[in-house]
Symmetry: C2
Subunit: 416 residues, 2 copies
């Protein structure tokens, strides 16, 4: 709806990234400049902050700190993994959100997250429409997993990919120091899509990366893995394997499950990790040489010191675009990226995709970008990924250490 | 001996660091400019390259690549963990080294490494003296462990410390994202000295670091650990623990040993790792909340993208100083750092310490720099460490990824 006047609220949801705060900066800086936006709220811990009237008045923040958000990792407002119920079964949360929106005259709702969060955004958008409450709802994409549908790539991916590729290049050098056989198995995040693990191929493209790459897109067998490793091992005595935590065998069983029991998060997703340890132990048994299992763990999603400038700028732009679109009257959409090449040079422009499209639809790595053997990336992937890691972004350094944003968080919710 | 004319050979030994190649650059660039040095050799895999006549002619390298070594992690020539026998028991290796030195007229020997490598250097130096073969021998220190005796600090430590502190600041932000209890246990390298784990306190000094820090200098008990964690947990629900892989209980048993059997390296040192997993499992049992065990693994010693400029410059200077000292007639010494404060500003100057002094003597963290409880660092440590992480050093980036040196490695040993 056009010429809608009122407050806006923004929330961060799901696993943090290096650049989710850059999108927040984009939303806040743009929203604070819009005439039709009468107040700018930041929700504490996403949707939970809305339900509990726990949110901050972002106009009270120091503009310098908002600028610093661009290079501050994690979710400055706090995030949440809260699954809204199906409104046909239980609409109490939705009614509560509507109540809060009415109370604070919230006419713009921006939500930053991945698949699950876009599902949340979509459900809220549809409920508000059904209720006849005018509120423009725009999703802002983010995920290091890069698996959101309808967008060429996701904010957060480029920086995580740069971390993965750079760190693997360093590990490659480290692993070649001794003139003795060594196998290194590196576990990389990605629940169902192998985009981030595939980024390890960027290191190989530079001549210093993994020999073998396993994505969840290809069913995993231990026999094939060991025979792949053997081929490299017999040739060079040095093997580096990049391995997605989400790899499963043909029965859908995670490799990590062979090692430890799995717990589940609020969305019922298995909490993964431990695949590197399982594979390292197996390789040690098989080859009897030194084997290192390495997990990039949380570091891969919060390494703002190794951000991709392209990613940071695009994440910021996505936040601004969400506000601009909403103010221009658009609702029920997610900001998405479209890639074009101008004179052979990468160019990223914004578009809007319907929320229902992006909600809960996962985009996996195309089979034709993976080699026939299913253990390495083809050049098509390199061409796709390389523009996304361009430029060096890092926080300002004071005393040799990063200076991160510190928000005042002036409470604006009347319940707190 | 002064006015000694002949070839020089340089070798890298022990675990690599981010800046061991910066010292190599210092040695090579200086040696290539010295009139009295007739040939500059780089030994493949340290002492093994000398024994096997496997070494490179460094004058054949592109000067640009030698310059790039300053920001290339790991050991470009290859390293080794080879323990020379006691010459009184078996002097065959020493005789072989003398034979090679005579064959190639090697009159300058530079060796870069930690405690064990300085022991090797010392033994060779003494044997050459005893044999009446004129050869000036200078050790160049390196170790992320910072445990070399006779020097204020060691090249490699500052960069590893900067990695540890920066990464912990990022993890601190990541760990605070959800409004649910969480314990994070981070395992940091250091076999017998806690210097690198102590560097995590730099993150706390910036307001975003661990709550508890455990060093090998203090005997570890699980009861005290759990009670320390409980105190923080009950107050904030978020606990970050920095933990040295070298922590031992009062019986000298490594914490990691509770989890897995230990293998030993060539020096008889236990191969550590796994303490984070052991402690995370224990904390999970005790508190029933989400617990993450994280190992900084090899990343902490090869993260040249997060180098300390101070460290890189000092490492380079140490290499140059070794050559200058040797050419001026000094032998049987190791380059060491002396810290002075000029108008309150940190200043690092070079000195030389007797090789026998630094060989095999470990310098641990002073007890008075650790708090009384034995679970955190005092300000004295911060004052010591902060000058060592100043300045941002990283390799040049091409396509968003680091450009590392690639040596030609033109063989100069006649056996190969």
């Amino acid at each position: 709806m056009k010429d809608l006047k009122g407050a806006c609220i923004f929330g961060q949801s799901g696993g943090p990234t290096s650049v989710i705060n850059a999108s927040a900066a984009g939303v806040f800086i743009q929203a604070l400049s819009e005439e039709n936006i009468t107040a700018v709220y930041g929700a504490a811990h996403g949707i939970r902050g809305i339900l509990e009237e726990d949110f901050y008045d972002m106009s009270r923040e120091d503009p310098e700190q908002l600028e610093l958000l661009k290079t501050t990792p994690s979710s400055a407002l706090g995030s949440v993994r809260y699954k809204l119920k199906n409104p046909d079964v239980d609409d109490s949360d939705y009614k509560r959100i509507l109540e809060v929106f009415k109370k604070y005259d919230i006419r713009y709702f921006f939500y930053n997250g991945g698949n699950d969060s876009m599902d949340t955004t979509n459900k809220i958008s549809k409920f508000l429409q059904k209720s006849g409450f005018d509120c423009n709802v725009i999703g802002v994409p983010k995920t290091i997993d890069n698996d959101l549908f309808g967008t060429d790539h996701c904010p957060g991916y480029g920086s995580a990919a740069r971390y993965v590729a750079t760190t693997l290049m360093e590990l490659y050098h480290d692993a070649r120091v001794y003139d003795t056989p060594m196998i290194t198995v590196v576990e990389i995040m990605g629940r169902n899509a192998g985009w981030l693990t595939a980024a390890s191929a960027l290191a190989s493209y530079k001549g210093a990366g993994p020999d073998l790459i396993y994505l969840p897109e290809i069913p995993f067998t231990m026999e094939k893995f060991l025979s792949d490793v053997r081929k490299v091992y017999e040739k060079t005595g040095k093997v580096i394997v990049a391995f997605s935590e989400g790899c499963k065998d043909s029965d859908g069983k995670y490799i990590a499950e062979m090692g430890a029991s799995l717990s589940k998060d609020a969305f019922g997703h298995a909490q993964l990790g431990g695949a590197a340890a399982v594979l390292a132990a197996r390789a040690r048994d098989e080859f009897g040489c030194k084997v290192r299992g390495i997990e990039f763990s949380l570091m891969q999603r919060c390494a703002a010191h190794l951000g991709s400038l392209t990613d940071v700028m695009e994440a910021f732009a996505a936040g601004r675009e969400a506000v601009r679109a909403a103010v221009s009257g658009i609702t029920d959409h997610m900001v998405a990226f479209e890639r074009t090449y101008v004179d052979g040079l990468y160019n990223c422009s914004m578009k809007l995709v319907n929320l229902s499209l992006s909600a809960n639809t996962e985009k996996t790595v195309p089979r034709e970008w993976i080699n026939e053997e299913g253990n390495f990336m083809k050049d098509e992937f390199i061409e796709y990924a390389i523009p996304l890691i361009q430029g060096d972004s890092h926080p300002p350094y004071v005393d040799g250490l990063p200076l991160f944003a510190k928000l005042r968080k002036v409470q604006a919710g009347k319940n707190k």
